[in-house]
Symmetry: C2
Subunit: 239 residues, 2 copies
């Protein structure tokens, strides 16, 4: 039976981390809201359906299972899609890394919405400029430097073998290239492992086909990764 | 062999969610930094020790296992400490709920540090006032309303039986009572299930003993939950 992925239409968003895993594995799945509209998610969010009630999209339905939170979804999908090395230790390490990716995703989102998700960017632009400067100067070097070392330890792969974590790191790098091109140009010389990982993932046949398809939406300024030139810039304090 | 918990001294912080699980289960553990100082964490953070390198504390060491990220630590400890109902479905639901708790914890932290974790509160006070107002008015009602319904569905327990998720929800409620007393006074009439859960957890013998011990640090304005009167207030827009 096909997996059913539920996520907002119109953006890649957090759903994309799940989508990349399903696409890479060639899994049979339906992107439900893109077929039936965003309203299709409401009964689940209202708790009117069985399973664990999601707080927010994305969530995945597979038979009787309803599971929300990207890291939990990938924790379930990993062994099923052969996207995590065998054994509990590797599966746990993947979970840990994915949770740190989730923290980074939140910080990237909040760099353009530091005050309130529900308010317009224009109404929090001054705060966003300060937060984005901190992201570029301190947080990105710290997070990306950490992942660079993790990938170096794994001989080019976060877990020493292909996994959903590599797919998510690919998405982080591509998203940051879109949102913060100037900062990423400055950081990239120190991130050879992540750049190599990005190139290798992009060449995987199923990923290459996906990226060339209409299913891969373009990055845009409604998503998590947003390109606002006034937020981008150098990383002066980064040594 | 005793579990070794590594977390910053001087605050409850994210380490407290792990501590509550270890204390409730009467597990044998050492709070390493409180014995040897914060420097004891550095070799792990530098990647100089085996296992999955932590991005940040807390992390737990158990034999050869080094595991970071609160939700991943509790995912490991749950079955070992009998703090999650049996079966993969329940374990997964616990993970999902704990990840939503983690999201809430980040939002609570960012309500006093919306611009940069590394900068002083005084230097981001104006932005904090706006973010805290959004937290009180929109985010807390949404998150706590969600958990209220989850607990109601489980007959007073997030998973229908005692689990580490209940211990974490207890910590959320206590932390918010300290940080945002006025907002919580306004919200509480709509949160009878969470209030009952909080009281029940506090009366568990091991938790009661822990809360009365010197191991339980007081909430303070260095932690995640901070009481700054200027950030607290009503929840006008909440119906």
């Amino acid at each position: 039976m096909a997996y059913q992925l539920y996520y907002w239409t119109g953006i890649q968003g957090r759903g994309e981390f799940v989508r990349l895993a399903l696409e890479d594995a060639g899994a049979d799945y339906v992107d439900v809201a893109r077929v039936d509209g965003d309203d299709a998610m409401q009964p689940f969010l209202d708790g009117a359906r069985g399973g664990a009630r999601p707080f927010a999209p994305p969530f995945l339905v597979s038979g009787a299972l309803v599971i929300a939170q990207v890291a939990a979804i990938l924790h379930v999908l990993g062994p099923k899609l052969d996207l995590v090395p065998e054994g509990e230790a590797a599966r746990l390490q993947a979970l840990q890394l994915q949770l740190t990716i989730a923290d980074l995703v939140t910080e990237i989102h909040d760099s353009h919405h530091p005050i309130a998700s529900a308010e317009y960017y224009a109404d929090q632009k001054d705060a966003a400029k300060r937060r984005a400067a901190d992201l570029r100067t301190h947080r990105l070097p710290k997070f990306l430097g950490y992942f660079e070392q993790v990938v170096a330890q794994g001989d080019g792969r976060a877990l020493g073998a292909h996994s959903y974590v590599d797919l998510s790191l690919f998405q982080i790098v591509r998203g940051l290239d879109y949102a913060y091109p100037e900062a990423m140009a400055a950081l990239s010389p120190k991130l050879p492992q992540l750049r190599e990982l990005e190139a290798r993932v992009a060449e995987r046949p199923n990923i290459a086909a996906y990226l060339a398809s209409e299913r891969r939406l373009a990055f845009n300024t409604n998503g998590i990764f947003r390109h606002y030139p006034e937020l981008d810039g150098g990383i002066a304090a980064y040594d």
